[in-house]
């Protein structure tokens, strides 16, 4: 659309501003709410501008948590979330890249069957198999452990599929040159394939880290001890208190803190993988 009519420009901007407002408003409210004292909410009116309790709220949540409702400090919950998100992201990449490597570069019986079985699981969301998964994890004694949080979420059909496509797009000549240069399969994988897919790995890491960090249902199910709470599930636990009003200022402070790490990952990894995209040439 190459048009230059001022009225259309204004209209376009109005639509965009409206869109931004709709998306950003909840974040704004969370940010504002996290800076007020808890009794500011009792009137039922949500304040729209910052209060003066920011330092108080954030240091309380990061430092001691709400001991009365059995909540550990947010810093501890964030550490749990970090372990889980890193475990899921790294685990997913490690498993899917090796299985894609096997599917693309090795000829073995039932290779395509294996691929299609993996592919079919794309259609099954975690929630469908959550009860049997819980059973297995419970029987293995992995409730309230990091492996219990990570392992059930570690397989990824999407990532396997993505790496398969990436590997298929690698020129055959590169593989052949490596064979003539005396690189065995694993050497080829480490020396050639892995460096050439690092941009894809970075992109996937961003997506998978956020996926892992935002896990809600699964941690909620299998963590019962407060020392294993993750921050996203923790928010939910804070908001359902008995006999008293939820302390929105603390909840919103936690929510804001929970948003930070994914944001940082996006900001920093973005630079890495854009740089990588420019550098790499297949």
């Amino acid at each position: 659309m190459v048009e230059n009519r001022p009225i259309l420009n204004i209209l376009a901007h109005l639509v965009l501003i409206l869109g931004v407002a709709i998306v950003a408003l909840p974040v704004w409210i969370a940010l504002v709410a996290s800076t007020h004292a808890s009794n500011d909410f009792l009137g039922g009116v949500v304040p729209m501008w910052f209060g003066d309790q920011a330092w108080n709220n954030y240091s309380r949540m990061l430092g001691t948590g709400i001991s009365t409702s059995g909540m550990p400090p947010v810093s501890w919950m964030m550490f749990n979330s970090l372990i889980m998100a890193l475990g899921i992201a790294i685990g997913k990449i490690a498993i899917s890249i090796t299985s894609a490597f096997a599917i693309v570069y090795f000829r073995f019986p039932f290779r395509m069957l294996a691929f299609w079985v993996i592919f079919a699981t794309l259609m099954l969301p975690v929630e469908v198999r959550i009860v049997p998964t819980f059973q297995v994890v419970a029987n293995l004694g992995m409730l309230n452990t990091y492996p219990g949080l990570i392992i059930p979420l570690i397989a990824s059909a999407t990532a396997t599929f993505l790496f398969r496509q990436v590997f298929l797009s690698m020129p055959d000549e590169l593989t052949e040159a490596a064979r003539i240069d005396g690189a065995g399969p694993m050497k080829f994988f480490w020396d050639i394939l892995l460096p050439l897919t690092r941009t894809n790995i970075a992109a996937l890491f961003v997506i998978m880290f956020i996926y892992g960090w935002n896990q809600y249902l699964w941690p909620l199910l299998i963590t019962t001890g407060s020392d294993m709470y993750t921050v996203v599930a923790g928010i939910k636990r804070m908001s359902t208190v008995a006999d008293t009003d939820p302390q929105w200022n603390y909840i919103m402070a936690t929510a804001v803190l929970a948003m930070l790490p994914p944001l940082l990952v996006v900001i920093f990894m973005q630079r890495l993988f854009v740089k990588g995209l420019v550098e790499t040439e297949k």
Binding site: A177, R179, D181, G182, K187, K282
Partner: protein, 335 residues
């Protein structure tokens, strides 16, 4: 350094398609062999069979005295230059050259020495620390050759290495390859579909068609005595005119021929010439012109001086002894 022997080599794909049939070539130590043929004739497949990238289903390939049918590419002591160079994009030129040596456990000092030597020979010293993407096509091509040289292999295998370069660069690189091969004296097999490249590079040509060897010989042998109508039409530019014997008046000595071949440069315009040609188009090349037309029902070309007068009908005569005669059924040469 080694000789390479192909002994009744053939390849049949699992589906039953035959790619290569019954190829016999003896390549002497230090010889430059060019496999040439139209696309799809199996020349690349044959080269890849020598390299070990394709399985050999029939016959035997020997490098030196060793049968290599079931030997891994890396153990065949060969180096290959690919059409798209196949340089590792994430490694510097130096690392690209060193990678094969490193995998073989060559000592660091030795690698350094050999890389420096190869860089010296190919004049790629200034680029050693660059990535391949920062190089031009010709420079990449040199690096690809450098990767072959540092290995000091028994044989070089070239798979259409110049086809991605522009015409001018192709000519220079062609000369460089030839010179390099002379200097190093390494047995080489070179695949190309460009007959000019084949003629200029080869000690001996192997002309392939549909997976079969049509003719093996020095460039001049192949040019002067093409063994079949296929070779006659393929080698030489502009291509040899192949005319049905029945569509020209009887020429002396052509009694048993089905096809008569005359190279365009062997035809001259002459008022009482025995061959009539209808002119259809003219291409000016500067020094000379190519006149395209028909002799009888067959397309034909004549080269003429660029100042010669043209008419729609030309009477042509031929240089004595320049006729090539081919058998009516087999298309094989009749001497």
């Amino acid at each position: 350094m080694a000789s390479i022997t192909l002994d009744n080599v053939g390849k049949v794909y699992p589906g039953g398609t035959r790619a290569i049939g019954d190829v016999n070539i003896d390549i002497a130590d230090g010889e430059f062999i060019v496999l040439v043929g139209p696309s799809g004739c199996g020349k690349s497949t044959l080269l890849r069979m020598v390299a070990g990238l394709e399985t050999i289903t029939e016959g035997q390939i020997r490098i030196g005295d060793r049968v290599v049918n079931d030997v891994e590419p890396m153990d065949r002591d060969i180096a290959m230059v690919f059409q798209n160079y196949a340089l590792y994009p994430h490694m510097s030129v130096r690392q690209n050259l060193a990678y094969g040596l490193k995998n073989r456990g060559t000592s660091k000092a030795d690698i350094e020495k050999r890389v420096a030597e190869a860089a010296e020979i190919l004049q790629i010293g200034p680029f050693l620390d660059r990535k391949p993407r920062a190089l031009s096509g010709g420079q990449r091509q040199r690096v690809a050759m450098g990767r072959a040289i540092v290995r000091e292999p028994a044989a070089f295998l070239f798979d259409e290495p110049l086809s991605n370069l522009d015409a001018k660069l192709r000519v220079t690189m062609r000369l460089e390859i030839k010179e390099l091969q002379r200097r190093l004296g390494t047995t080489s097999i070179y695949v190309t579909h460009d007959q000019l490249e084949a003629m200029t590079l080869a000690d001996r040509l192997v002309v392939l068609s549909a997976g079969k060897v049509e003719q093996i010989g020095t460039p001049l042998e192949v040019y002067r005595k093409p063994a079949s109508t296929f070779v006659a039409g393929f080698i030489g530019s502009p291509a040899m005119n192949l005319i049905k014997a029945s569509s020209v008046p009887h020429l002396p000595g052509t009694a048993h021929a089905g096809m008569i071949g005359i190279r365009p440069e062997d035809l001259t315009v002459s008022a009482d010439g025995p061959i009539q040609m209808k002119v259809a188009a003219v291409e000016e090349l500067g020094a000379q012109r190519l006149v395209h037309g028909h002799i009888g029902g067959d397309a034909a070309t004549v080269t003429m001086a660029s100042d010669a007068t043209l008419s729609d009908d030309l009477n042509l005569t031929y240089r004595p002894g320049s006729l090539h005669l081919f058998h009516p059924e087999t298309g094989k040469r009749i001497d």
